[in-house]
Symmetry: C2
Subunit: 393 residues, 2 copies
């Protein structure tokens, strides 16, 4: 194609001038002025800016300080504030303009957890090296639709296969990775960075190569918003009747696992199965492993504890005897790793205290991880990066 390259060069210079003028592709609407935001300084402080001549107030709110808003100062028509320095990590943030949370107009990096659509900020360093795209072999990620008689209908999940899966005949262990309330099957990829965390852990020898199965834990919605019919487009994920049905837990065992074990090269025994999830997914992890004690040898409960004990009105119908009987069956099945992770400022912290207390009483051994932080993705990415290396070893 060498001859055509000369022509191409000339054509494209003209063409790109046009491209820049194209209303469908110009950056001008989303990048008013020559604003740079976020600007990461050498010391990992970050300046946020937004040009908004008509606005009276702007704040920035991010997971470096979940729940807090920092006021941005207006100079001429640009609001600005400096935050940090921040430690290396990925953060989610919003700008709140005259009381309305909006995306940072100059940041294309956007992720969604349920209805929560936010910008992403990656601060380089130790944690970014675990969760960012690095120059290492990448596994593939496949969106598949599978039939789920337990819930009814076709449902969508993602399957991560580790680097090299298509080039050899090996069989692999499998991790089932569950999301929280309000989320769906996309969030462990877009916001959770699960595939890149696994790529990096595998490349550095910290985790065994494994298949990771990322399901949608809401029985009443088959897939993420853009991947379900328009009439369900703004349906809120979950819902009481749906979640209380126990149908997701049933479908994971009856529909998802058989699909994976039939269609992928997996080692289909308990020694090579892990399950973990956060918040709602931590609750579902407990439900599934309590009901099927011999199925998973690696169990991770993230940001969730003994849920019946939570709040001012603990569930009066909680049946401790039944729970203890399940845990004894679990102990008898000899899980290799039972992992509990919770952040010091998590609103569910007290439930984890009670869960550990019960496990201590019953004699179920577990690894306990407590981190600074709260009930957010900074914790869940961290937990995955620490739990995955404990599996299948």
């Amino acid at each position: 194609m060498k001859k055509t390259n000369i022509v191409l060069n000339c054509l494209i210079v003209v063409w790109l001038i046009i491209l820049i003028m194209m209303p469908q592709h110009t950056m001008s609407q989303r990048q008013p002025g020559n604003i740079i935001s976020p600007e990461i300084l050498p010391d990992n402080s970050v300046i946020f800016r937004i040009k908004a001549p008509n606005a009276n107030s702007a704040q920035v709110s991010g997971t470096w300080a979940t729940g807090k808003m920092t006021t941005m100062e207006k100079k001429d028509s640009v609001f600005e504030v400096k935050i940090g320095p921040l430690s290396s990590d990925m953060y989610e943030y919003d700008i709140i303009l005259d009381g309305i949370p909006i995306l940072d107009p100059t940041n294309n990096m956007v992720t969604r957890d349920g209805a929560w659509i936010q910008n992403r900020l990656m601060i380089p360093g130790v944690m970014a090296d675990i969760i960012d795209v690095k120059p290492v072999p990448h596994g593939d990620v496949k969106a598949v639709w599978y039939n789920s008689p337990a819930i009814g209908g076709e449902r969508r999940m993602f399957i991560y296969t580790p680097p090299g899966y298509d080039k050899n005949k090996k069989k692999y262990p499998v991790m089932y990775l569950l999301h929280g309330g309000g989320g769906d099957e996309e969030v462990w990829l877009s916001r959770g960075r699960a595939n890149y965390i696994l790529d990096n852990l595998i490349a550095t020898g910290k985790a065994e190569p494994m298949i990771v199965v990322i399901t949608n834990g809401n029985p009443n919605t088959p897939a993420a918003p853009l991947d379900r019919p328009a009439e369900m487009q703004n349906k809120i994920q979950g819902g009481i009747a749906s979640m209380a049905s126990g149908k997701f837990e049933e479908s994971l065992v009856k529909d998802v696992m058989p699909y994976i074990e039939k269609n992928y090269r997996v080692i289909a025994d308990a020694d090579h199965r892990a399950i973990t999830g956060f918040s709602m997914g931590g609750f579902q992890t407990q439900n599934i492993t309590n009901a099927n004690p011999a199925m998973f040898k690696y169990i991770g409960v993230m940001s969730m504890g003994l849920f019946s004990s939570f709040g001012n009105n603990p569930n009066p119908n909680y049946n401790k005897n039944q729970h203890v009987a399940q845990l004894k069956a679990l102990i008898a099945a000899k899980p290799k790793v039972y992992w509990i992770g919770i952040a010091k400022s998590d609103f569910l912290y007290g439930t984890a205290v009670k869960l550990r207390s019960l496990y201590d009483e019953v004699g179920l051994k577990y690894i306990y991880r407590e981190n600074e932080g709260t009930h957010d993705w900074n914790s869940w990415r961290l937990y995955l990066s620490e739990f995955a290396p404990l599996c299948f070893k």
Copy 2:
């Protein structure tokens, strides 16, 4: 799991009360008040609403009238406007609040084309039945990383395999599907709905089952923003030196096609290869098929014409003799379908007139499709739904 369901029911009722209170999952920040927006009325008119007590002005701008803004009227603290009735289709839109384009806070349906992050609106009916998720068998979509010596490094693409691909041993034809300037490999899925359009066309017998390969056409970025290293996170897709290099065109032939033909069950001959793309991708489609006349028997040029002829300063270095020689080689290779589609209000309309004029002069037969509309996704989804059925028949 029947016994545990009773316990689960009680647990979850308590738990969901808590869930609703959780700052990470509440809808309240993104859905202020009890606002519904967009509300689609029975006649397919649409009401947009935003609660913004502190704002002075709000407009809505969408692809039902690309480039126009409609003023929303403020009553108490809520801006509101009724649009339409709209014909069945998928539309992209923004709300412009005090001059800043923002997402509709109550609509979770968001897609991105380059820096252009917008809400989605699906109006039911004929076109929605082609582009929405319908109760038909769904193909799988796999994100794979492949090595590209032609460009350098690992790059990401998506591969759609039709329903049933994993359940039989058949070989399939392949369509290569290219995006426009500013875009990346994600946009034909999220905004273009390519996988669902194919699902629906295949289910209704309108298109042959085929594999669809969706590449990233920007040589200087290996993947979409969230799937490349943070230091490239806000890099604008493309760039003159990168696009002018012709490296994408080279890599499609030297890297992508061999990967697909090695790793997938494809019929690896020209009769079973199609290539199409819009705007930049229509230009690349021409470059690839002009340089490789015997490689594809189905060629679709969307929203792009004879680019060198565009504007007030047509490219002085355009070599018509060379182009004609390429087209004669293409005619000799007997393409089965050469398809050109352009909208009446496309800013590139004149380039398509000149391309057709040249093809008429040279004797290259083509199918010509002209639609109402402009240089936007409403045209490109329509074109895919019409071009795909012409392939491999």
